[in-house]
């Protein structure tokens, strides 16, 4: 059991989702986040005030997968999110102790979708 967490550009979210769905990965949680990375800062101006926006808006995806789906998930995110410019984001793969599907009480491998081995 792994948790694949990715922080990607907002504008690439649809591409990432499409790539994940192609890889038969349907269970995903998406959260708007803000963070600081290596990007050039954006400057905004309001009348006499100029401000440097240090926090850039991104989206974060959390995907619980069985071991067999870790690589497909990572590949799909890479395909969908990469532009080649600074600021494309990160992917983290974390170990997961336990997963419970609330509706049925199923645990671990049975609690995440899909469960089958990749084609």
């Amino acid at each position: 059991m792994k948790l694949v967490t990715a922080v990607v550009r907002k504008e690439r979210l649809n591409d990432v989702l499409a790539a994940l769905f192609e890889a038969s990965i349907y269970g995903v949680t998406v959260t708007p986040v803000r963070g600081h990375g290596g990007e050039r800062e954006a400057v905004q101006t309001y009348r006499g005030m100029s401000v440097k926006m240090e926090l850039i808006e991104k989206v974060r995806l959390d995907i619980g997968v069985t071991e067999a789906f870790v690589e497909p998930a990572v590949d799909a995110i890479l395909r969908g999110a990469r532009t080649g410019e600074v600021g494309d984001g990160k992917i983290f793969v974390l170990p997961v102790d336990r997963v419970v599907r609330i509706r049925t009480g199923e645990t671990d491998g049975a609690a995440v979708t899909p469960q089958a081995q990749p084609g």
Partner: protein, 487 residues
């Protein structure tokens, strides 16, 4: 006479002598004309309602239906400016203070509406000395719907209503300087007193036959009385109140720039009533003021955009909204006195001083939060002075622009600056003795919406539990707000 012959009017627009040529009236707003009507016996109006049916049920004697219709529409348009101002200001503050900020404009409709009806109008326009009007029209005594005595005159009550909306917007303008930190009750008291003690005398001086009018100062629609006055009052109040705690420490960004654009658009729309309505008739002067109100902001908007471009390489939304307003402010004193080309010049020229002052102000210690002084004070001064330069008899001004007229304009500006500063200081100082002017630091950090009004502008209601019994506990938010506080 011209007004009843449209063909003559159209043909004669640029060169024909205007009807408002009395020396005293000096072409300014024709308040003398309305005043003539007020000479009717005090107390007549209530009687007239019953005794003179033609005056209240039929056409108003002396004034064409078109003029009446335009003046009522203009009054409503000026009222709409207050709503526009609420959105203009509301968009520029942080989300935790947007309700408080917008309410500061809206509450002026009520507070100043009352004070102006009670005494303000009388002090400005009832017969009195050259410095202050009398008390003849306290609580609108003696004002009726009948046309004033002479032909061609505005019904006294309508004259009041039109003037009242000017007093409302003036008071509301001040609020932009004190947002995000002033106690609401103290603010209501300040504008109530200010509308009587500061606004009414100045209106008397410039429009009510007071000494500035006698000197020949030109102010077609209120550059001095409304904008310079409110701009100075705003700066004084901001100084007296002190800076917001976050000022200079945190970036305080506009939370809803589209509101600001919407507000600026509504202001422009309403300003047609403000300026063209100041002709006090649907006539050639109104047409000129109307067109100038279209042209000057167009010019200032473009110049502002170019200044933005030169400074930061980009045209900003807040910038063009501000540029529009500055152009409107600047054309206000000149609207019925200058030709359209001069209106373009006034708009274009007025942009730079306000733009530069805004740049300076943001780096200064003066927390005039929404730059009321830069936009209205400085814009008003630019407009008042440029009126002395561009005024043209060919377009209906009582005098041509000249160095002497520029001097008169400068004198009027100086009088307005000085009187408004001293008067506002006195009013706010007095209120400050009675009750604290500033919100306490906890409420300022939390936001005035929740802290002072117990409301939020943007909430989805998640986590809000219905209380079993409706209890109102003043100053205590119903839901603990520790998490929302910034402190």
């Amino acid at each position: 006479m011209r007004r009843h012959d449209p063909t003559t009017e159209r043909r004669s627009a640029p060169a024909a002598p205007r009807r408002r040529k009395t020396l005293l009236g000096a072409g300014m707003r024709v308040m003398p004309r309305a005043l003539a009507g007020l000479a009717m016996p005090a107390g007549l109006a209530p009687v007239a309602l019953a005794a003179e049916p033609p005056a209240t049920t039929g056409p108003v004697a002396g004034m064409a239906a078109g003029d009446l219709a335009w003046m009522m529409a203009s009054t409503a348009l000026v009222l709409l400016m207050v709503v526009g101002l609420a959105f203009f200001y509301g968009g520029l503050v942080r989300r935790k203070n947007v309700l408080n900020t917008m309410m500061m404009s809206f509450v002026a409709l009520g507070v100043v509406g009352l004070t102006f009806a009670a005494v303000g109008y009388s002090l400005a326009f009832a017969p009195g000395s050259a410095w202050l009007g009398g008390l003849a029209h306290v609580f609108l005594r003696g004002l009726g719907t009948a046309g004033a005595s002479g032909a061609d005159s505005l019904p006294a009550l309508l004259a009041f209503a039109f003037q009242a909306t000017f007093a409302m917007i003036s008071a509301a303008l001040i609020s932009g300087a004190v947002v995000e930190r002033m106690r609401f009750g103290a603010y209501m008291l300040v504008i109530a007193l200010w509308s009587v003690v500061v606004y009414a005398p100045l209106a008397k001086w410039v429009w009510g036959g007071g000494f500035l009018q006698q000197l020949g100062a030109l102010d077609f629609a209120g550059g001095t009385v409304v904008h310079i006055n409110a701009g100075v009052a705003a700066a004084v109040l901001a100084l007296l109140l002190g800076r917001r705690r976050d000022y200079g420490r945190k970036a305080m960004l506009p939370h809803q720039v589209p509101y600001t654009l919407l507000g600026a658009g509504l202001l422009w729309f309403g300003w047609f009533g403000f300026n063209a309505g100041s002709a006090q008739a649907a006539d050639a002067t109104a047409v000129l003021a109307f067109v100038n109100t279209l042209l000057a902001p167009a010019a200032s908007l473009v110049v502002w955009a170019l200044l933005d471009m030169a400074r930061g390489g980009r045209v900003t939304a807040v910038g063009i909204a501000t540029g529009m307003v500055v152009g409107l402010v600047a054309i206000t004193p000149a609207a019925g006195f200058v030709g359209p080309a001069a209106a373009l010049a006034i708009g274009a020229l007025a942009a730079l001083p306000s733009y530069l002052l805004m740049l300076w102000r943001a780096r200064s210690r003066l927390d005039d939060a929404l730059d009321v002084f830069a936009a209205h004070g400085v814009g008003g001064i630019s407009g008042a002075l440029l009126t002395g330069v561009f005024a043209s008899r060919a377009w209906g001004a009582p005098v041509d622009g000249s160095l002497a007229q520029l001097g008169v304009q400068a004198l009027a500006v100086a009088c307005a600056l000085g009187f408004s500063a001293v008067g506002t200081l006195a009013v706010a100082g007095l209120v400050g003795l009675l009750t604290p002017l500033r919100a306490d630091p906890g409420i300022e950090a939390q936001g005035l919406d929740v802290g002072m009004h117990g409301e939020e502008a943007y909430t989805d209601g998640e986590g809000a539990l219905l209380l079993p019994v409706a209890r109102l506990e003043p100053r205590t938010p119903a839901v603990p707000n520790a998490a929302r506080s910034e402190a």
